[in-house]
């Protein structure tokens, strides 16, 4: 995984964050992500993120569950091991619906959780760089990816003028890695985090 340089701006109010996101985007900077302590309504829209495909995945998992249930029950009870339950026909669909429903839900739920973890790069032992610890508490942290043309000082000044209460520059791992937080310590050495 490659290390990249990021400019980080911290905001303490939603009402300031939204216009700031708009300003930064119109100025042409590339927002890596905005980390917030809670789900902010409409922020994905403001950031111009595309709609998630998680629900499409969920539909496919659900259909898989439905066909698994119907396929296996009908194969078992009609072909492989027909049994007589209270004189009902071997192919007795109504009796299978509850199981089919449960398997549909199970497949959809488990599949979507795993897909969600994959999309967010969350897994046991996987580490990711934290841009600011207070993003889990009370700060909205906007992270902008720098290119070789970006003037870091200008950008920091621009963020401050847009209402950021603190800004800093960090060189950090963009993706995830396995192991300890060793890598993160070196990234902090390279940068000058402003202690709030």
């Amino acid at each position: 995984m490659a290390k990249k340089k990021f400019v980080v701006g911290c905001f303490d109010e939603e009402a300031v964050l939204f216009p700031a996101v708009k300003k930064v985007r119109t100025a042409g900077y590339k927002i890596h992500d905005v980390y917030t302590p809670f789900a902010v309504h409409g922020l994905d829209h403001a950031l111009g993120l595309r709609e998630t495909s998680l629900h499409t995945a969920g539909f496919i998992y659900g259909i898989t569950g439905t066909s698994t249930a119907l396929g296996s029950i009908s194969w078992i009870l009609v072909k492989d091991w027909p049994l007589n339950f209270g004189g009902k026909p071997n192919f007795s669909l109504p009796a299978w619906i509850p199981i089919t429903f449960e398997l549909t839900v199970l497949f959809a739920a488990v599949g979507m959780v795993l897909t969600f973890c994959y999309l967010c790069q969350l897994a046991p032992f996987v580490k990711k760089h934290h841009f600011h610890p207070r993003a889990t508490d009370d700060l909205f942290v906007m992270v902008i990816e720098c290119t070789e043309k970006t003037n870091v000082d200008d950008l920091q000044a621009f963020l401050s003028s847009a209402g950021a209460i603190e800004t800093d520059v960090q060189v950090a791992e963009e993706g995830w890695w396995l192991g300890t937080y060793d890598k993160e310590e070196t990234t902090f050495e390279n940068s000058n985090p402003v202690v709030a």
């Binding site: 409409g42 709609e51 004189g87 109504p94 009796a95 619906i97 509850p98």
Partner: protein, 409 residues
Amino acid sequence: MASIRDQFEIPGKMKTWSLALIGIGGAALLYGMFTKGFSADEHEQTHFWGTLMYNTIFWTLICNASMFFICITTLAMGGWQQSFRRIPEAISTMVPIFGAITFAVLMYVVLGHKHHIYHWLDTEAVAKDPILKGKAGFLNPTFFVIWTTLTIGLWSVLGWRMRQISREADASTFDNESGARYILRGTIRAALFTVWFALTVGSTVPWLWMMSIDAHWYSTMYSWYTFASSFVSGMSLIALWVIYLKNKGYLELTTQEHLHDIGKFMFAFSVFWTYLWFSQYMLIWYANMPEETVYFKHRVQGPYKGIFFLNLIINFICPLLILMKRSAKRNYTLVTFMAVLIIFGHWIDFYQMVMGSLSKEHVTLGWLDFGILAFFVGCMIFFVSRSLAAKPLIPKYHPFLKESIIHQV
């Protein structure tokens, strides 16, 4: 607020169309009444009064579902419905009107001793029948009349009180204290309506009005099934009016976000209806006891087979697949199409619930059904548009209005 168009004016075309529907439907109704309703033939009588019964019960229940929607969202401290709450309120003004028709029809059937519709009215048959004797405490004309009067009367009164409190939000602003008191008063009135709703639609009234046609048969699911049916069509009716007013340029504060939530209700309660449909069906299918399967015999294997399964396709498969996507619930055309389809589907559902028991040998669906349907649709459009025009479309000083304006899904 000055720029908001909050006063609905009834377009001339709408008035013409609704009066035309009332005219056509009324003609069919009267013609049917004199040729069938008052004819000497018991079958013709049963056909006419049964058809009128399921239509009037259906429309009363789906208009009452609007008031239930207002009350549950109020009880849940909901804010999102404020920008369009005057629409379900206007629809709920139909409850006294359709309620009166329902009352008149049911009284004619019960007091006129139409035991071909309600078998338990036949005192001689009841005396010889241990099952009906056991049910006589519930299924008797006195209880029927009292309970029906109470039901329709209290729906109308409690609903009217709920609409009155909504009117207060037009008059003047609230400060913190008076606003809190206002919300509390609304909550109490909503709770009263909801309790009465649970005692009627949620349990006794569908048993009394419709299930007692099959006097020997019973299903504890029946009332919830009826409730689910009426609530999902009630939500569809609200969606249709919201979309109509949006298209006419009213309801500026109501957006796709609100429509999305109404669409979610339509989707979720279609699935809920199916859950009850299936629970009722599967338990009876599994136990396979003759006194229970008698209800499904002519529906699943007899002449009603087509309607019975069409019902499931329209009311379950279509909403499930079409309304599942987020973009579908935010699309005005698709929601309109689905709302019409769902209302039609549940009307057919009510048809087979009532007529499936009254006319077991052959399906009666024909000009009379569609004529009476036209009459009720015409009445609904005519009176709802009048109540919409009677007051502002937005409760502009309601403490929760802002929540509705910034509502986002």
